[in-house]
């Protein structure tokens, strides 16, 4: 093979998920009625903001060689905390501030705090007590959701303050502000992973924790930060979810975990750790969101949507795997 050919092939492989996204959008636009319109594309971006933010935290922990199954429940808890305190009907207590916009930092702080605490607890159990991250965070997945149910009594809170809702309603270039928050997160954390010592250390710990430890990297500290970040970022996702919903319900966000994992894997992050970058994850999120929207618009018999969704996601993951195979042939 010519070096130039190899180079372009490698470029395509490196950014395969973006090409897949374009291909999928083209196919759906051509085949699904009403898919090709600006409103739908705006919907795709808007819908991917919550999942996108959640996937960032998950990706960080996975790159570091661990796992966080609790992100979905943490997001729900953060949403419920914001809902109970700052929503005005249902079980909401409707706390208000003067000036009114203070509710934005206040609710954000509460949410992120909740997430950080759960993340720290997960981190403590994994790092200090040396429990397996899968089982620790699986338990958190259960008990944090249980906490949401317990705190809400199964009821919901609605009508968040207008200052918060504004973020979901106000649009810039046809896309709500919440989506820009997600994009900003991707840019910031991508930079962190690619250009800072912390990001480099996360990747190395994911590759060989013992080697990183022997090299004097404070593995425990780095991992703890990763878990706390994961919890906090999940909480940010929950806050966005609450704003989107204008409140919170006990089952809010249920089922997101599968999509978050799928996005991370489609985005090229290895579940074995040590491999992956965030921009791909964002493409993965957009890809899932496009698939979801297509399913909504196709008007399939409702009973079959779950099978189809599962199989489409599997197909997307499969394509990513084929990439690895081709790459192995190459290098």
């Amino acid at each position: 093979m010519q070096p130039s050919q190899r180079r372009s092939l490698e470029f395509v492989l490196d950014n395969l998920v973006w090409f897949m996204l374009l291909a999928v959008l083209a196919i759906f636009s051509a085949t699904v009625p009403n898919y090709f319109q600006l409103g739908i594309f705006a919907n795709i971006i808007e819908q991917s903001s919550v999942l996108g933010v959640m996937s960032i935290g998950l990706a960080l922990v996975i790159i570091a060689g661990h796992m966080d199954l609790s992100v979905e429940s943490v997001a729900a808890l953060s949403a419920m905390a914001a809902g109970i305190l700052f929503a005005s009907s249902g079980i909401g207590m409707g706390i208000t501030f003067t000036p009114g916009w203070l509710v934005v930092p206040a609710s954000l702080l509460v949410g992120l705090g909740v997430g950080a605490v759960v993340g720290a607890l997960n981190g403590f159990l994994v790092i200090k007590v040396k429990m397996n991250a899968f089982i620790v965070t699986l338990s958190s997945f259960i008990w944090v959701r249980g906490l949401v149910v317990a705190a809400s009594g199964g009821r919901s809170a609605q009508n968040l303050a207008d200052e918060l809702r504004w973020l979901a309603i106000q649009r810039f270039l046809g896309i709500p502000l919440t989506a820009y928050i997600a994009i900003a997160c991707f840019i910031g954390f991508s930079f962190m992973m690619a250009k800072t010592r912390f990001g480099r250390h996360l990747i190395m710990i994911g590759g060989n924790e013992a080697a990183a430890f022997r090299a004097g990297i404070k593995v425990d500290k780095v991992l703890m930060i990763a878990f706390i970040l994961s919890g906090t970022i999940a909480a940010l996702a929950g806050w966005l979810l609450a704003i989107r919903t204008s409140g919170a319900t006990a089952n809010l966000g249920a089922g997101m975990l599968f999509n978050a994992f799928a996005a991370v894997v489609i985005g090229g992050v290895s579940l074995k750790g040590g491999l992956g970058a965030l921009p791909g994850v964002y493409a993965g999120v957009l890809l899932l969101s496009s698939i979801n929207t297509a399913i909504n618009l196709m008007g399939l018999p409702a009973h079959y949507t779950q099978v189809i969704h599962g199989l489409l996601v599997l197909a997307a993951v499969l394509l990513d795997t084929l990439k690895q195979t081709i790459r192995k042939k190459l290098a």
Partner: protein
Amino acid sequence: QDKGMVYYMVPTLLDEFQTGSVSALEMFLEQVGYDLTTLNADNKTDLQQSQMNDVIALAPKAIILAAVDFNALAPSVDAARAAGIPVIEFDRQISSTVSDFTSVAGTVEIGYVAAEQVERLLTEKNGSVKGKVLQVLGDPGDPYTLDIQKGFEERMAAFPEVTIISQPAMMWEASNAGTIVSDQLLANPDIDIVFSHAAHLSVAAVASLEAAGKQPGDVYVMSSNGAPVALQMIRDGWMQVEVEQPLYAQAAAVAMFMDKLVAKEPIEPGEYDVLGLPSVVTDEAWGPTIKIPGAAITPENVDDPSFWGNLKPPAAPVTSVE
């Protein structure tokens, strides 16, 4: 004739009532000239919101919404109506914002009917309203089951001699219900009635009773939603009461008013005949509402074809209200 597409947002398909509602709405809407597409939210509030957003972009004639969460969908309802799409609440009422039409049996009311039946059964069995009732909830995070519980316990509060034990079968999972029943039978051997919030939970409950050596009628069994399985168990003698949700009437009412809703004509309060049931449309704060209360199905009336669980849809087509 082809009057256009209507979307039905169903909250889940893991429940026979919801499954039945899809086919009933499809049938009745076809009779008045509309096509129906159903989107399943799989009990996920956020998914249902995304579906609402996408459907709004499709500009259908109307949206029929059975909300996963009664109130969380309010912003989506507002968005759809702002886009000029009429929104009809089906089965699950949203009172925190205005909708174009609401057709429900009333979840709290199901609890009321269940309480009346418990009163009757306990009196038959123990001579007065006293005894033990095991209430099997669907899921502690589901407002639907919580409303039934609220209605039921509100009415039962009048009878201090009745002990109510409540346990959740997480995620409406049948074998969880079976486990609860078999454990509770040992802890409280004197349970008189097992009341499950869905018929499919009663199936597992009955299986546990059978495995514990009980005969039909030893422990009374009742549940709510009127699914075919329940009617079967009533015929088999295992079950005494099922609280019917008038699925056909609820769906037919939506179809009857669809033309008016699409044309954005006002709906007049008053009495209407829905599949032979006299029903009242009232004007509420959240918009015009038709409430068709459920009935109790017992061995005496189990074969009544108007119960949706008998799966005999009415032969005469519904007609639009003029």
